[in-house]
């Protein structure tokens, strides 16, 4: 039953207000017959940028995972999604503040104002680091060991659409990571390029160069493409070139660090340590012509333990460590008690975000000490 202006005015007077105290237009708030409950309707707090993004017709994507950690992505950014509860009551209704509504002209009127529902929670979005570690892990189930090792004819691996639903990161972040990492599209599906395959690829090219007594700088990209066309597909070869070579126009140069790291990953047997003297010798000897190894190239791949006798090189690749900061640091400090900033950076860098850089993360989660003027990081516990 609709309320009359008279009823409204009576109550107004009981509240010790008169019609002269208020604007001419009053509203009666009334729920719609079918309330939109919080199962159907949710409130999402967004930044002005995200609102603009939605206003332009772009979508957001909510992605959950096994441990109930929910994120929400735009096309290019990743956010944490958190439910926020308030003890206040929020009523949702069509806009009543638009335009001339607040102008005060004409005679006293009563407007019916629909209310859609009552809410006590909303969701917050906070910019976060994309969870990209799992990208390598899911692709690792489909290693690519070269076209001659393909057992079945059908494409195996994961399509980009599949990756997008599995990985807790935005489309742009996934594309960028796929470009940087040793992954390639084979018959339309993404695969992880096997370390043994990559080692074989670089070694094969190096052997051709040695045979022809040429250095990489002396040949051009079309020549390399031509030679390696016999070895694998165009896409895979292009990826290998981008992973291991600096391309400047048509001239090429080995990326020393990338090649050294690849060879270390190949040479260092998992779960075993190498006598460091032996390792450094074998490592340098195995390099393509013109690549000089440097102990620093091991950062993020292996660590040299000078405390043991003889000193040892231990296999410890960054991509095998857990993504959770405390778990990761726990493993690092078990392997080595004290780390310099330089040596620990490759292991911590991937966990940084806009708010926390490497030094800030370490200050928060590790203990620092200074010995002979050098700053070291060790376990907090």
């Amino acid at each position: 039953m609709d309320r009359s202006l008279q009823q409204v005015n009576t109550i107004l007077n009981l509240a010790k207000l008169t019609e002269s105290d208020i604007k001419k237009e009053s509203h009666v708030l009334q729920f719609v017959p079918q309330i939109l409950d919080s199962k159907q309707v949710k409130l999402l707090e967004v930044s002005k940028d995200t609102l603009e993004y939605l206003n332009s017709g772009e979508c957001l994507f909510i992605k959950g995972n096994e441990d109930d950690h929910v994120i929400i992505c735009s096309n290019s950014n990743t956010f944490e999604l958190k439910e926020a509860e308030t003890s206040n009551t929020m009523l949702l209704m069509p806009s009543l503040l638009q335009g001339k509504l607040l102008e005060d002209t004409g005679s006293r009127t009563l407007m019916q104002q629909e209310v859609f529902g009552v809410y006590h929670t909303y969701y917050e979005m906070r910019l976060t680091r994309p969870k990209l570690q799992s990208l390598r892990n899911v692709l690792a189930k489909y290693p690519y060991k070269g076209r001659n090792s393909e057992v079945i004819k059908e494409a195996v691996g994961l399509s980009f659409t599949e990756l997008k639903t599995m990985i807790q990161a935005s489309e742009e972040e996934i594309i960028n990571r796929l470009q940087e990492m040793p992954a390639a599209k084979v018959k339309g599906k993404w695969r992880l390029l096997d370390v043994g395959f990559l080692f074989g690829w670089v070694s094969y090219l190096d052997s051709i160069l040695r045979q022809k007594q040429l250095s990489l700088e002396e040949v051009t990209q079309p020549i390399v493409n031509n030679w390696m066309g016999l070895y694998d597909t165009e896409d895979v070869n292009a990826k290998c070139i981008s992973l291991f070579m600096e391309v400047d126009g048509s001239s090429l140069r080995w990326k020393s660090e990338a090649v050294s790291q690849l060879f270390a990953l190949y040479l260092l047997p998992e779960l075993r340590a190498f006598d460091s003297k032996d390792f450094f010798t074998v490592w340098q000897q195995s390099m393509p012509v013109g690549v000089i190894t440097n102990e620093e190239h091991l950062n993020g791949v292996a660590l040299v333990d000078y405390d043991s006798t003889p000193s040892l090189v231990k296999y410890l690749p960054e991509f095998e460590l857990p993504e959770e900061i405390n778990e990761r640091l726990g493993i690092l400090f078990r392997n080595r008690t004290k780390w310099t900033l330089q040596s620990i950076t490759p292991y911590v860098q991937p966990l940084t975000d806009n708010n926390l850089n490497v030094a800030a993360l370490l200050t928060k989660y590790a203990r620092s000490s200074t010995i002979n003027g050098v700053k070291y990081y060790s376990s907090k516990y």
Partner: protein
């Protein structure tokens, strides 16, 4: 598992009223169709809300961060294929920060 929040752009604006406490009905009746109360604006443009025997004085506030209203599109969509659509955006709200004050005086007759 991925849930898409679809936007078709040019999102319409909704309003919001926020106040302390909660709305209850006698014997837990459903709220659907019920009259909540009256809303007035004083000459400064501040809202005054009367619910039952309570009066609330509030103000209009711009939200630092807008709230987007998303609605589940449930018609004929299987549970693991849930989608949301962007229905509206709230940029301003009527906020009643102070506790509701009782209206004293004559007993309010049946509203």
């Amino acid at each position: 598992m991925q849930i898409v929040i679809q936007s078709t752009g040019n999102i319409p604006e909704y309003s919001m009223i926020e106040f302390q406490g909660d709305l209850e009905t006698k014997s837990d009746e459903a709220l659907g169709g019920k009259v909540i109360g009256d809303l007035h604006f004083n000459h400064e443009g501040n809202p005054i809300m009367i619910i039952g025997h309570h009066i609330l004085h509030g103000k209009v506030q711009d939200l630092d961060k807008p709230l987007v209203v998303i609605t589940k599109e449930s018609d004929g969509i299987p549970e693991n294929d849930v989608k949301y659509g962007v229905t509206a955006v709230i940029k301003r709200k009527l906020i009643f920060k102070t506790r509701p004050k009782p209206i004293v005086g004559e007993m309010i007759k049946k509203l």
